[in-house]
Symmetry: C2
């Protein structure tokens, strides 16, 4: 088996401009216009090389030309993913990033940011033939094992479930519960389908704006929390990007401080509790250091994370 | 306004191998392998130049590498569409072709083949903000006006509604009824989204395998009628391709014999009744002439169709 390459290039696919903006601003990414795609595609791309050497492309799915809204949901996300890989080449890692609903009964809280363990489609119901088409429908797109990364970057982990609808019918709820979903959103499984087919490592990073099984109305909760959740997303993405740069992804397969949403709360992990607290207080370790990617390189979180990654690597069982 | 170009290139996107095979065999199309796409994409493409000069690309969405099933539903169809345009250039017309369910209460019968007037997503429910996101969700992808083509090629016309599910929940049914859908399937609106964004003319051609609001189980009805409906699809597609080749699409905007599913039955149109009868009897005007595209060029249906097209063109009101 060939040695795994170090991570030198990451592509991030984002559905909403509001979700993309904090990341573009933080890294002062350069806009590429729509030229890398078939004209006149709606997608918008930005590029930057971080001081740690990582080449980063951020692709926003763009606006709908008739209704002036963000191109949310699976179709635009899947096309953007294929188009981005066609334009920029296969990255070492492709992320679907954005905001999402979370299941309170499975530990999700507003402001949490999740790393996917697996993505599924809860709205592809194809119960025919011998059951294989039904399983194809759900998708079952497993993410690479990145528990060490989640721990180091202050992320929870769980199953992310995708449909094209913001609402949630009883059928949707039954299927999500059966699949063990903790995050509900509108793009990830479609991006995962493309990545699986192109053999590109994929993981979802989703920031919780609203509690799907909570008391408040999803719409109002989503809108009031969108800005804060997008900011939290940017913080965690910056941590992820700094951690993965220049090392093989397999370094991050396991971590003693990984948190699993269905097993224990974030507070059980000293690392996660630390970063979660920082977010709530508005005093993230990154908060004073947003002007460039460089400022992240030397911080203590990274040193601890690298140590944990090495310990993990050395203790891996094959 | 620039003069509209004659139709010289058509791309057809098809989800199931069983649906693509009759067309590939009929035209003896040449396989291109997966090389025109990002390796290792699952899509499979064929190409041929018909004797009437039309360049034809047929793209099947391929097999799922894990479950061995056809890559049905919207994600694969949308990606295949973008990938096909990237690989082969913008065609004069792009079709989503395949089998579908039809609404009996709106005149659909097994064996009918429909040309879309509009495609919508009945499973993108996004009821937020000022209503624009909700309308974006439904999509409302209008097809070019092709009533003359439908009449000449023996096709019915109607609204095609798309979701990723083979089944039909009460919510789905309510939304399809409200949108005036006569055909229910799993790809068209996603293909239409890509085409609308790339400014490529798009229309769906769908052959009815089962009656969504009928008495039989959809699954059994679909499976027992798949072969016959795929054959009917190939007949109608051959008629469409022969009619559109070398002329602007606008020639086919109107036709005195166009049939609208919600207004009148196919039997009300002498042309549609003729071709419908031929299909049922297995004695289509094309049935003895399948060896190449050439054989379609001189037949009497085409002559009548061209005459109707000219009459239509001359009588158009602007």
């Amino acid at each position: 088996m060939a040695a795994e390459a170090d991570c030198a290039h990451v592509i991030i696919i984002i559905a909403m401009k509001e979700e993309a903006a904090p990341l573009v601003e933080f890294y002062r990414l350069e806009p590429l216009g729509s030229s890398p795609f078939i004209e006149p595609s709606p997608m918008v791309a930005w590029r930057g090389t971080l001081r740690n050497g990582l080449l980063l492309h951020v692709v926003w799915c763009g606006h709908d030309e008739r209704f002036g809204v963000n191109n949310v949901a699976t179709t635009a996300a899947a096309v953007s993913t294929y188009a981005a890989v066609a334009a920029f080449g296969k990255p070492a890692l492709l992320l679907s990033a954005g905001t999402a609903g979370g299941f309170g009964q499975r530990g999700a809280r507003v402001g949490d940011v999740y790393l996917s363990t697996k993505c599924v489609f809860h709205s592809r119901r194809i119960p025919v033939s011998d059951g294989t088409l039904e399983e194809y429908g759900f998708g079952h797109f497993r993410s690479p094992p990145l528990a060490g990364l989640a721990a180091a970057a202050g992320l929870k982990q769980g199953v992310v479930s995708t449909s094209d609808s913001l609402d949630c019918t009883p059928t949707d709820m039954d299927l999500m519960m059966a699949e063990g979903a903790v995050v509900k959103e509108m793009e990830c499984a479609a991006v995962a389908w493309v990545c699986q087919n192109l053999h590109v490592p994929f993981v979802a990073v989703k920031s919780i704006t609203d509690i799907v099984d909570g008391q408040k109305a999803t719409r109002a909760e989503f809108e009031s929390n969108l800005h804060a959740a997008s900011s939290a997303l940017q913080h965690r993405l910056a941590a992820v990007l700094d951690l993965v740069a220049g090392r093989p992804l397999s370094v991050w397969a396991r971590g003693p401080h990984a948190t699993y949403a269905n097993e224990r709360e974030a507070e059980a992990s000293p690392m996660s509790a630390h970063t979660s607290h920082d977010f709530k207080q508005g005093s993230s370790p990154w908060s004073g250091q947003r002007k460039s990617a460089d400022s992240l390189s030397g911080n203590s979180i990274l040193a601890i994370a690298m140590f944990l990654g090495m310990v993990t690597l050395l203790s891996r069982r094959r």
